[in-house]
């Protein structure tokens, strides 16, 4: 070895070695600037703390508190308009438009942020940087993407059925928006507080299959058709476990109204995911199948059928499909939070923090779970997935519904505080779920691979005879 000093040998390594983090760069600036920056940060923090203290301590008037529940604000508006003597339709129409605008901006805003979140988080999982060139932390990347997608030429296959080809990107967007109707964002903040909200949710979620099938059929492409057929088969199959899982929720809470379900969970301080673990799992897994996310994204399995049902779509049409995928992911997150994670409540925290922020945090958590799954798991095969639904989820869900029916009837007749039966149900359901899953898997003939999983190490070489000897011995 020579005595020359060690240095990175390749340009790329040199670049990496010379790269300095944000903190290192900050330590490099002059003392005056450092002091000024620290002063500024400290001042900002202190003023924020002061404001927070004033707000939380309740020194402000009650008006301000309404921001915790925007439903109150619209109600105030409505009553004010009625007092002013408008035609009865006007206040109704105004508040409805406001709510619709709110939902649309939530979904649209999420489409902007969500794709950044997904790409960025996935990049961190995959030891990459992700988008970091457009704006701070690459935050403007989705805007750049949207502009790019809109500018792109839309190539339409010559053999495609024109009308049916144009329709699906629009059709598929409708259920993704409509599904938000009954979701309670806070106590009175629900756009469409139906008393059959669960039925409405199931019905709306079935609509998406129409757009998918139209897209696959009208493209006149075998990949599209394969993807569409896979998706249709999967959606139809997985609607049954979803319905059965929600049936268990309805049985226990005794209501189909989403706000009542959330209120039930807040009332007993018991999230349904603890009471009904199997239903929660079924709902989550089946939802990933319904919205085509890993590990169940066989409808658009890119390593097999390129992009599935939207292979032939280009430009903003493909962008709409991708946007719907994102929108559906947070819709499922909202459903998951509402049905199983306590919705906008958080064990009393909702009196301090606006409920819609709690719900958004829960949606974000579920969305993070989806991204995590996407970054980790391989994909199932179609027959495995269908078999899982029909042979596993559906029978066990039926058993669970029977069980929950018994529990619900016990609970309805219980006199003393609800803590004891709920704790007992939680433990019982967890234990029964584990045991049921194990026994059923055993009955289906599943055995985990333990023996002879690894290849054996051969020290001598040989041919067929050696192979037979090794296999025999």
């Amino acid at each position: 070895m020579s005595e020359q000093p060690m240095r990175p040998a390749t340009p790329m390594l040199r670049q990496i070695a010379e790269h300095r983090s944000l903190l290192q760069r900050f330590m490099g600036v002059s003392k005056e600037w450092k002091g000024f920056a620290l002063l500024l940060l400290g001042g900002l923090g202190l003023s924020n703390l002061a404001i927070a203290y004033v707000v939380i301590d309740g020194r402000l008037d009650g008006q301000w508190y309404d921001i915790r529940d925007l439903g109150n604000v619209t109600q105030h508006l409505r009553s004010w308009m009625q007092d002013e003597g408008f035609h009865p339709a006007v206040p109704y129409l105004t508040t409805a438009l406001l709510g619709a605008l709110g939902i649309l901006s939530v979904v649209g805003g999420w489409l902007l942020i969500g794709s950044w979140v997904e790409r960025r988080v996935l990049a961190k999982f995959q030891i990459r940087q992700g988008p970091n060139r457009t704006g701070p932390f690459g935050l403007f990347q989705p805007i750049a993407d949207a502009v790019k997608l809109m500018q792109k030429e839309v190539v339409i296959p010559r053999v495609a059925d024109k009308f049916l080809y144009y329709a699906p990107p629009v059709i598929i967007f409708i259920p993704a928006i409509l599904g938000w109707g009954p979701v309670p964002w806070a106590g009175k903040m629900s756009f469409l507080d139906l008393n059959v909200g669960v039925l409405y949710t199931i019905a709306i979620s079935s609509l998406g299959v129409l757009g998918v099938f139209l897209a696959g059929w009208s493209s006149n492409n075998h990949y599209s058709l394969l993807g569409a057929m896979r998706t249709v088969a999967m959606m139809v199959s997985y609607e049954i476990p979803i319905s059965l899982a929600l049936l268990a929720v309805v049985l226990l809470t005794g209501s189909m109204q989403l706000s009542t379900i959330v209120a039930w969970q807040a009332n007993y301080n018991a999230w349904l995911i603890f009471l009904l673990p199997f239903a929660a799992f079924t709902f989550l897994f089946a939802s990933t199948a319904e919205i085509n996310r890993t590990p169940n994204d066989i409808g658009e399995a890119e390593s097999e059928i390129v992009a599935g049902f939207y292979t032939e779509y280009s430009g903003m049409k493909a962008g709409l499909f991708m946007g719907v995928e994102l929108g559906n992911a947070i819709l499922v997150g909202a459903m998951m939070a509402t049905f199983f994670l306590g919705g906008y409540t958080m064990f009393g925290l909702e009196t301090w923090i606006p409920g819609y922020l709690i719900l958004a945090a829960k949606i974000g958590a579920v969305y993070f779970l989806f991204v995590w799954l996407r970054g980790t798991l391989p994909r199932f095969r179609l027959d495995q997935l269908m078999g899982y639904a029909w042979k596993f989820l559906i029978p066990l869900s039926v058993v669970q519904v029977l069980l929950v029916a018994v529990e619900a009837s016990i609970f309805a007749r219980w006199e003393t505080p609800a803590l004891f039966p709920l704790a007992a149900f939680a433990l019982l359901n967890l234990g029964l779920t584990v045991e049921m899953v194990r026994r059923w898997a055993h009955a289906l003939g599943y055995a985990p691979e333990v023996a002879q999983q690894q290849p054996v190490m051969a020290t001598a070489i040989g041919g067929l005879k050696a192979a037979q000897k090794m296999r025999g011995g």
Binding site: F125, Q126, H222, I298, S303, R379, M457, A458
Partner: protein
């Protein structure tokens, strides 16, 4: 199958995410099940064997980079050994050790790529692939600091290797060798017991040892079927007879076995690397060899165990400066001999995974 669906033709490739290059198959499908398959290659055909007849032996070494571009070092080594045997050239001992080190590094890099893309084909959206690229990048950095190129290395020459590695090469190599076993454990943890991965690969694409031998399969495809055949042990070239290593052999011959064989071969490569680093003697890295060699009339079939199997080079010399005939035995192409039998009756996802487990490089198929 009692399906009554009308069979249809699905054209997979030449541009498709899981064909690993410009490889095309026309598939007759019945629903999701493949009834028949016809593979169409040649989109990357450069007629290397003809071009080689107009170039000197040394000028032909870059062709081996461009044939199997994921294992350029192994190709270099095979051709260099062939030229040496044909012309009777000696190699310094240090050069032999350097060749072993670089060939094994190349094997690790290539297996990382193969396994990563296989898992990607199974649907894990690029995460294992990018993890494995991390090690591959480090190996390519080692190549770059030694010979200036990352993929098309053109490193081995008749009579030795072209450059002595720089001083910073050895600490970087030691660091890599020290961290590789932990990384392999990490991948095993992520994939070897992954229930979904097992469901997708266990019992899929089974090749019996009889078929594997008869179908001229080589490399991990052959060893995954349970045949303990490795040219590094059968015909120890360079200094492979001085190292202590084992040959991982699959037990069932399915996709998972081929995957695991590659994983464990990486471990064995690390073992070889450690021994080679400890044993490497000082000395020249290259003997003086004329650039325009004129080997005597004769022929040679030299072969090395590349990452994809037997990299063979059939050289016929007529005494001139260029080979009279230059044939490159492409393991990627010949390993596909059984593709049709494997794919018939399999479903499309299974066929994709099976193709991924055979690990083709289209540059080598088409040459």
């Amino acid at each position: 199958m009692n399906s009554t669906a009308e069979p249809y033709v699905l054209n997979i490739g030449p541009q498709h995410p899981s064909t690993h290059g410009v490889f095309r198959v026309r598939v007759v499908m019945d629903g999701e099940v493949i009834r028949d398959l016809d593979m169409i290659v040649g989109y990357l055909h450069r007629s290397m064997e003809k071009l080689a007849e107009e170039r000197t032996y040394t000028q032909n070494i870059p062709f081996t980079d461009r044939a199997d571009y994921l294992a350029a070092m192994s190709g270099n080594l095979g051709l260099a050994l062939g030229i040496e045997r044909l012309a009777g050239i000696d190699v310094p001992e240090r050069a032999s050790y350097l060749r072993v080190i670089f060939a094994e590094l190349q094997r690790v890099a290539s297996h990382a790529m193969a396994n990563g893309t296989l898992v990607s084909d199974a649907g894990a959206w690029q995460t294992p692939l990018l993890y494995m690229f991390r090690e591959r990048e480090k190996i390519l950095d080692l190549f770059e600091m030694t010979c200036g190129a990352r993929l098309t290395t053109n490193y081995m020459r008749a009579g030795g290797v072209s450059f002595e590695p720089p001083a910073e090469f050895w600490p970087a190599l030691n660091e890599l060798v020290a961290e590789l076993p932990g990384r392999i454990d990490e991948y095993m943890e992520l994939l070897a017991d992954n229930e979904i991965f097992l469901a997708r690969t266990r019992g899929i694409g089974i090749i019996t040892p009889e078929d594997a031998i008869n179908g001229s399969l080589v490399g991990p495809a052959l060893r995954g079927s349970g045949v303990p055949w490795d040219l590094r042990k059968a015909e120890p070239y360079c200094v492979y007879d001085r190292f202590d290593f084992d040959v991982p052999v699959g037990t069932r011959g399915d996709v998972y076995d081929r995957f695991m064989c590659r994983m464990m071969e990486t471990r064995e490569s690390v073992r070889i690397l450690k021994q080679a680093i400890a044993q490497i003697p000082p000395g020249p890295h290259k003997n003086d060899v004329p650039l325009a060699l004129r080997p005597p009339v004769g022929e040679v079939y030299s072969r090395v165990e590349g990452p994809r199997g037997e990299n063979g080079f059939y050289l016929v010399s007529d005494g001139g400066p260029a080979p009279y005939r230059f044939h490159l035995r492409a393991p990627s192409l010949i390993n596909l001999s059984l593709l049709r039998e494997l794919a018939r009756g399999a479903s499309l996802p299974d066929a994709v995974v099976t193709l991924g487990s055979i690990d083709i490089v289209v540059g080598e198929i088409d040459r």
